[in-house]
């Protein structure tokens, strides 16, 4: 049996890791086991997310699908050349453009991993442009709804002012 990590040397060590109360046994070669052990406190082995993901992907990408809306099997990203099969096997995308090529078929995966398909966090300061303002606006509006439901009217008034400011900024571009 080959090592699960390097896929090169034979697996001679069995390491049991507990993730979320589920036991998972990794079959590793001595060198990989040593590398993982060395980091045993702090950086726990991060290899399992891929395995976990590959399991999910297998359902979306692994089998030839028959649905008419689905892109033909064997589709690849035009920018980096990554194929669906490669992705299903490794759990890694090849480049930023892959998200566009595989996007619609990734949505159910996102939903299952994150419960969500839309980013609401930080936006790059220099290149983020309008998205930054829009996201901030949406967060303020959510806070406003909450303030009103808690009858915190002073806070609500402050939030309304901040929202008006941002909307003006957005219109003026």
């Amino acid at each position: 049996m080959e090592c699960e990590r390097c896929h090169q040397r034979p697996a001679t060590v069995h390491l049991t890791e507990i993730i979320n109360n589920e036991k998972r046994t990794m079959r590793l070669c001595e060198q990989c086991a040593r590398e993982l052990q060395a980091q045993a406190m702090g950086f726990f082995p991060q290899i399992n997310l891929h395995n976990f993901l590959a399991g999910l992907l297998h359902n979306e990408f692994g089998f030839p699908t028959t649905g008419p809306t689905v892109a033909p099997a064997g589709a690849r990203c035009e920018a980096c050349g990554l194929t669906e099969a490669q992705f299903a096997r490794q759990g890694l995308l090849g480049c930023g453009e892959c998200y566009r090529y595989f996007g619609p078929r990734l949505e159910p995966v996102f939903r299952r991993i994150h419960g969500n398909t839309c980013h609401t966090g930080k936006v790059p300061e220099r290149t983020g442009g309008k998205v930054r303002v829009i996201n901030r606006l949406e967060r303020l509006k959510a806070q406003l709804r909450e303030a009103i439901s808690r009858e915190e009217f002073e806070r609500a008034a402050e939030l309304r002012d901040a929202i008006r400011e941002l909307e003006k900024e957005l219109q003026e571009g």
Partner: protein, 357 residues
Amino acid sequence: MSIKETVNNPHSHWMDGTGPESDIVISSRVRVARNLAHLPFPHLLSREKAEDVIHAVQTAIENRVFREKMGKMELTRMNELTPVERQILVEKHLISPDLLEDFERKAVVLRDDEVLSVMVNEEDHLRLQCLLPGLQLNRAWELVSRLDDGLEATLDYAFDEKLGYLTACPTNVGTGLRASVMLHLPGLVMVNQIKGVLGTITKLGLTVRGLYGEGTEAKGNLFQVSNQVTLGQAEEDIIANLISVTRQLLGQERAAREALYRERREQLEDRVGRAYGLLKHARVMTSDEAMSLFSDLRLGIDMGIIKNIPAPLIIELMVLTRPAYLVKVTGKDLSPVERDIYRAQLIRKKLSAAQQS
């Protein structure tokens, strides 16, 4: 301080034991994944393009604006280091072991105090990390975010309006954020509540990891709790959630320790005393045995049973007795048996020095 001093000095700021709640929270870590636009992710990157990424990062940290904001940070290519030096960076938690594979095309950026680091060409082009002692997740995020802004001043990130920061693995997309705390939970393990408690946590969108050896107990009773979701929640919310769960865990761990002290004091003191005795006098010590004894001794220190050993020394010993450090300290390659002998020797020396001072 240069990278050579970093590998020579076994101490790192995160081992200080200074942060809030540091009797239970060993360290707080925040890392974000970033990629450069218009380039394949590292696993598909050609040798030349990988070099381009390193060069772009080098330029970014030498930029005047970056320097003013972040101070001096030093970039080191992994192939400038010896294998032992590379391994030491892993043992100090400054880089992940993945940076050791195919190291010719990888680099690390470090700040003097080792609080901030950037791994270049790991799974993503950039992995920014902040590591602090105790429970300091907000501070860690603040520092990482500032470093992120400093780099973005010159680097174009792969960012999508809807999906956020694009990452090689879709489990990181969105914020690219992984926040984690390392917790020492011997009390909950001893009162047999750990399974239930950790089971509850996983229902809250968090991941718990413990590394188990041959036996059934987590090595050193150390557990890492981190966020699972990276898409659809703002960074501040992800971190606030992790902090609030950590606080609950702290409460439960302290209650367990008090119950042990109240109801099984003899057994507890016996266990701590035996660990101390073994560490002080053993002549051959495997790394697994050391980890579990360190945990018992640390608990004894935290509960006031052992008075003359400073708590941070235990964390330092945990790092110092890892294989690469032993090789570094002794200056030669060691067989596993020799390693166990040197480990025991080093522990004896450090503990008796601490007692005398």
